[in-house]
Symmetry: C2
Subunit: 356 residues, 2 copies
């Protein structure tokens, strides 16, 4: 019996030496170097997540959470922040271009709301300095379709309960139901929507948090130059870049429409075809890709970026290897995102209007 | 010190005798009679809920849950079952008439999906015998807008993961991705969406589960005749009735359009203006009311029903008393409804199509 246990133990040791995680001295060195190289380019989300956790459920973020999910402030009563940023689709709508009220298309692809607050500006063209500003303006955009701020605020005030909640979190203000405060509340909620992943564990020093295949992809991601733009805590999201720096982006993506990008905001010729470099966190969960959703496969998107931004012709194998690394950026969906809040119902007590 | 404790104890006893729940012998008799009267008209949801709980999370109901929340089988990629039956709005869309794909209105108000399986038929006009049949047909209706079943099933098959899940739960079938099986899966999920309430505790014999005001409302609900139609485990949902049996419903509701109701299905003159009597569970959470959402206040709806169905002219006080009872039909939202499933993403590995 004891001999049998020894035999099993010996087999387990042998397996651990020949298995996919078998490490030679060289491998160990490579792995240590990969961790330190990665630490030089990226930052772990862990400390920010700890900070955000303390905000979950506070009255401001909870108000924002209700507003985020409530369709009743849109012109048709259907659209809400949630509809372009669905929890069940990793904070996206899984569409090339989003739709808004009255069946109108929005001009660009809806990026995931997850980790959006790690980015230096909001929208593909960096139109807004913060998620708060973005949310405050969304009420008048094609997604919500309110004709002006008075109409948008009226829609909120008609729903009993909201005005009181605004008063609770903005106690100094006489009429706190304002677009700016709406943005502050929704933004406070969005700042809790962070999704740490195995990559953060790797950055925090746990070398086996990434599989050998993912580590190989990370090595390529760094060496090929993807990391020039996709770095930092968001793995992107902190700079503008011109699409097609090296070769023709628009041909590669088969885009139906040439988009002037940041030029729309600045009217500066130098900003033509310039877009915010997006965060790649959860990117494998959020196809289709690019500002117009023109590419639906992750490794196609990787190959196109390498080609038009870096002038590199990646093999299929390398593109899939990088995709494999990118899959390690998938985090858990936050519970305050997948669990929907219960919204204040319309008033149900009688009003004088229908009394005879 | 001991005298002081005795004095406090005496006060507590005194308070319990004069408080709102103070019971005389007569009150106790009345309450017992109310429980037995209620038990004669209604049935507790408790046993069904226990049964449903065992189905939560089984592979069939889980597949149905994913399908329920997935917008990618609609013609515009936005609409899903969830959009007319939002968890955050107690399984409704809080609209008078629902919208479907391409900004078209649906002909009637979307009832809550909660407890819908307690009803004998689906839709206001009883068009479908079961929620399974309703779900299977919805894919071609204005909500989803598929042109035919082939198109609808193709949309499901394009999303990797679903075909395998269908095979798992329908192992005998060669091609299990069919409208009928879609309906069976979605229906299985819907059958778990039951919301027991304080009223069930009352029916189960816990007399203080309803407040005195709610008990008074229940007494009125029974004595005024509301219970003639709204009875059973669903507090309604087991019969057809003609709107405006006694006086003119359409004037009372200020409806914009006269709706022929079940006549649309049977073409039988006797079915003109006949509708399914809806379940009243969670009704205070699901305004606006009636098949066209023409009335937004609960007690207005109560007064109108009394007037046109029973020929009774309820006072404001009585209508609000009945509303108060109805609020005891509010249950907890099920966790497998408020927690959204994560859906299979679009494929992210490269396809041959864009390979050069």
């Amino acid at each position: 019996m004891s001999a049998r246990i020894q035999w099993i133990a010996a087999c387990l040791v042998a397996l651990s030496l020949v298995g996919p995680y078998a490490a030679t001295a060289d491998d160990a060195l490579d792995r240590s170097k990969l961790v330190s190289d990665a630490q030089a380019h990226f930052a772990s989300l862990t400390p920010l997540t700890e900070e955000a956790k303390q905000k979950i459920g506070d009255p401001l973020a909870e108000l924002g959470r209700k507003l985020f999910f409530d369709p009743r402030m849109s012109a048709d009563g259907v659209w809400s922040c949630m509809l372009c940023h669905q929890p069940m689709l990793y904070g996206t709508d899984a569409q090339a271009l989003s739709r808004g009220v009255f069946d109108k298309f929005l001009p660009r692809n809806a990026p995931t709301v997850l980790n959006s607050t790690l980015q230096f500006k909001a929208h593909w063209d960096g139109r807004f300095e913060s998620v708060e500003a973005q949310a405050a303006h969304a009420l008048l955009g094609p997604g919500f379709g309110n004709k002006d701020n008075v109409q948008a605020m009226d829609r909120i005030k008609r729903i009993p309960g909201y005005t009181e909640l605004f008063h609770q979190v903005f106690p100094q203000e006489e009429d706190p139901v304002t677009p700016a405060n709406y943005g502050v509340a929704v933004g406070a909620y969005e700042r809790t929507l962070l999704t740490p992943s195995r990559f953060d564990e790797f950055l925090d020093g746990r070398q086996d948090a990434l599989t050998p295949a993912e580590q190989k992809g990370l090595r390529l991601f760094i060496d090929a130059g993807c990391v020039n733009c996709h770095s930092g805590v968001g793995v992107g999201g902190h700079s503008f870049e011109k699409f097609g720096e090296v070769s023709d982006y628009w041909l590669a993506t088969k885009s139906l429409k040439i988009d002037a990008g940041r030029f729309d905001v600045t009217k500066n010729e130098a900003d033509k075809y310039v877009f915010k470099v997006p965060s790649l966190r959860n990117v494998t969960q959020t196809p289709p890709y690019f500002h117009d959703g023109s590419v639906s496969s992750m490794s196609d998107a990787v190959r196109i970026m390498a080609q038009v931004q870096l002038g590199a012709d990646l093999s299929n194998e390398d593109a899939e290897s990088i995709s494999s690394f990118l899959s390690s950026l998938k985090g858990e969906l936050p519970a305050n995102f997948t669990t929907t809040p219960v919204l204040p119902p319309w008033p149900f007590q009688s009003s004088a209007t229908t009394d005879q």
